[in-house]
């Protein structure tokens, strides 16, 4: 299977995401979170936050779109029909609260072949409006060969 090693290091254009209070609630409900800091504005303010806090995995919401669009980059020649999300990692920095503006830059970090499978690694680095890092995501995909 051909592997686009010449595209390793490619960086995608920064993507800005404005974090909305109702989006945090929607996400928290969708994954079953019951922590009042994610759902109850008064509870979040009493705890000293300016607005609702985003759960850690909300990183998927602000950093996911640039990853999903990169999968369709023709230069990466991804066979979407045989694509599997193999593994995922996040490291978190500053907390994200509603009202934050998060900028994410995605990089195509690695591409290799093993046993007829293509392994790709993408890395997202997300910072808030103060330049503080809020998360680093590692997105690992596997492309199976035909047949």
């Amino acid at each position: 299977m051909p592997v686009p090693t010449d595209k390793i290091g490619k960086r995608f254009a920064p993507v800005l995401y404005a974090v909305g209070r109702e989006k945090i609630r929607e996400y928290a409900h969708a994954v079953g979170e019951t922590n009042p800091l994610y759902l109850d504005l008064e509870a979040a303010r009493e705890a000293g936050f300016t607005d609702l806090v985003a759960p850690p995995m909300f990183a998927v919401v602000y950093a996911g779109p640039t990853f999903l669009s990169a999968l369709f980059d023709p230069e990466l020649e991804i066979d979407f029909a045989h694509l599997v999300h193999g593994s995922q990692a996040f490291e978190w920095g500053s907390l994200v609260v509603a009202g934050d503006e998060i900028t994410t830059v995605l990089e195509f970090k690695d591409s290799s072949e093993r046993a007829g499978l293509r392994f790709d690694v993408f890395e997202s680095v997300s910072v808030n409006q103060r330049g503080e890092r809020v998360s680093v995501g590692t997105w690992n995909t596997i492309i199976r060969g035909e047949g």
Binding site: G86, Q88, F90
Partner: protein, 129 residues
């Protein structure tokens, strides 16, 4: 409530039939294998399957609840996706604190549905104290 070496973590959740629709809207991942029964079957799946990142969010939730609800406690989480998650069947997340050092607990977790491991060998780093 601080995590200590050897502590165990557990969380059970049964995904309802529309959770993938709500998660697609919440996350922006509208891959039809998660929301369209006919499409999922047309590509050889038994039916709609859960988003892997939804299952990972259950692991994160288990750690968060075990950390007393401090949203800043979880410092990192890595997860490998394995079996396909089905709707309507209970998922059990279990974890064990393997080490605590320098204010960080390392927790190993799995998310299992029936005989399928949906998330295997997840590792969470959690701030304690």
């Amino acid at each position: 409530m601080a995590l200590a070496e050897g502590d165990s973590i557990a969380l059970s959740v049964t995904p309802d039939p529309y959770v993938t629709v709500r998660y697609a809207g919440a996350s922006g991942d509208f891959n039809p294998i998660h929301i369209d029964e006919q499409f999922a079957q047309s590509v050889g799946l038994p039916g709609r399957i859960l988003h892997g990142l939804w299952s990972m969010a259950q692991v994160a939730r288990a750690v968060g609840e075990a950390s007393g609800g401090d949203p800043a406690a979880l410092r990192s989480l890595s997860a490998q996706f394995r079996g396909m998650g089905r709707l309507g069947e209970e998922i059990v997340v279990t974890g064990t604190v393997s080490t605590v050092a320098d204010g960080l607990a390392s927790v190993k977790l799995d998310a299992v549905q029936g005989s399928a491991k949906l998330v295997k060998g997840a590792v969470a780093e959690v701030r304690v104290g």
